[in-house]
Every structure is written in C-alpha cells, then in structure tokens.
C-alpha cells in the first residue's frame, strides 16, 4: 500500500523532509501504526511514536491514532497548530 506523508513546521525541520511517498508493509493501516512504522527509522524519527503532542491528519482532516490509513491517502504529521 502506498501513501503520501507530509511533515510541517518544527517536525519538518527536524526530520529534514516535507513530503515523501512511502510503501507501507501489510498491517500498517492506521495512523498509530504508521507512527510506529516511521519511528523505526531511528534517530530523529523515533519521536514520532512517542511525542504525545504530535498531531495527525488523514486526507486533510484531523485524525487520531485509530484512524484507518488506506491506499493513496495523504497523511500529515505536525506539532500543535499556532495560527490566528
């Protein structure tokens, strides 16, 4: 399964990547599992599974850890928002 992953703000800077297309192994089918999958890359990526302040969106809608992730989805990770 292939998804597009976006990173914003301080997370984007820390990881040094704003967007990537990733092929996910079987079983990585929720936001929570995707966070664990990405954390396995180690280094700065480790925080993705443990940083409780980190927010996610699936197809441009706010999403919690249980939100399903499917083929072609756009999944974004970012720190708490600070606009306005």
């Amino acid at each position: 399964m292939s998804v597009r992953i976006l990173f914003f703000a301080s997370l984007r800077e820390k990881l040094g990547v704003g967007a990537e297309d990733v092929s996910l192994p079987d079983g990585v089918d929720t936001v929570g599992k995707l966070r664990e999958f990405l954390a396995q890359r180690g280094g700065d990526w480790s925080s993705i599974s443990v940083d409780t302040r980190l927010r996610a969106a699936v197809n441009q809608r706010m999403a919690d850890a249980t939100m399903p992730v499917g083929e072609g989805d756009e999944v974004a990770f970012f720190p708490p928002v600070t606009g306005g």
Binding site: F8, A9, S10, A57, P79, P80, V81, T82, G83, G84
Partner: protein, 151 residues
C-alpha cells in the same frame, strides 16, 4: 460566506462593506483582527513566518465556519487568514460574523477564533534576537475551545 487563505494583506473596511452591501436584515456585525506583536513570551519579535498546510487550511476553516453556523443563527461569516512573512503591526487573521442580533454575532466570532487557534493548520515561526523559534501552542487556547462544550 467565505474562507480565504492568502499571502496578501486584507482590507477590513472593504470586507465589512461587502458583507453588508445591499442587505437590510443585518443588525449586528462582530469582527476580530489578529495582528503580529513586537513581543511574545518575553522576547522581541522582528518578523515571523506563517507556515500552513495548503488544502487543509481551507477545509479546516470551512469546517469551523459550518460548526458556527449550526450553533447560531448567522447571516454571513468571513474568515481570511494570511501566511508567509509578516512583521509587527501586520494583520494575520480576520473574522467577520453578521447576524440579526448582537449576542449570536459575538459568540460565533469568538467561537471561530477559538477553534481556529487549535484546529486550523498554521504554524508561526518568530525571528528573535536569539534566532528563529517556533511558537509553542498555549494551554489557554486548548482551554478556550473546551469551554464551548459546556455551553
């Protein structure tokens, strides 16, 4: 009703005039303008960059406006949010709410701002004398949203 995410400045007088032009059913317009301050968390700010999530910002703001319209009897709502580089004194965001009566307009305008602060994907990076820093989300903003659950 409208939501705009843009780099350019906005003209509050013009937007307000457009919201009420040709209408005779508007009794109240509540509005809010957020601006860049030259200080934040005890440090001087010389500029800031507002990053956003294109595509999601528009729909997130539209969703907040829809929630406001379902809670109160509103005539029209406009939200304009800027992104890009801004300096102290620049406007960041405009919310305009028109209604027949003032209570609804005030409540809805504050509701939109409270939810925008926690649900719209914008991030501020400030330039201080010590270098650039990402603005941290405030506990008070999370609390501001929660009080709407009770009402």
């Amino acid at each position: 009703m409208g939501v705009r995410v843009q780099e350019e400045a906005f003209d509050v007088g013009r937007e307000l005039a457009a919201l009420t032009a040709g209408r005779v059913d508007v009794g109240a317009v509540a509005s809010f303008v957020g601006l860049v301050r030259d200080r934040n968390d005890g440090q001087g700010i010389s500029a800031m960059t507002l990053e956003h999530y294109p595509g999601m910002t528009q729909s997130a703001l539209e969703d907040i406006v829809e929630q406001a319209k379902s809670r109160w009897d509103l005539l029209d709502v406009l939200v304009v949010h800027r992104y890009g580089r801004l300096v102290p004194g620049d406007s960041i965001v405009l919310v305009l709410v028109s209604s027949a009566h003032r209570g609804e307009a005030f409540s809805a305008c504050e509701f939109v701002m409270d939810f925008l602060k926690t649900n719209a994907p914008f991030w501020k990076k400030e330039v201080t004398p010590d270098g650039a820093r990402w603005v941290e989300a405030r506990e008070s903003d999370a609390a501001a949203v929660q009080r709407w659950d009770a009402s």
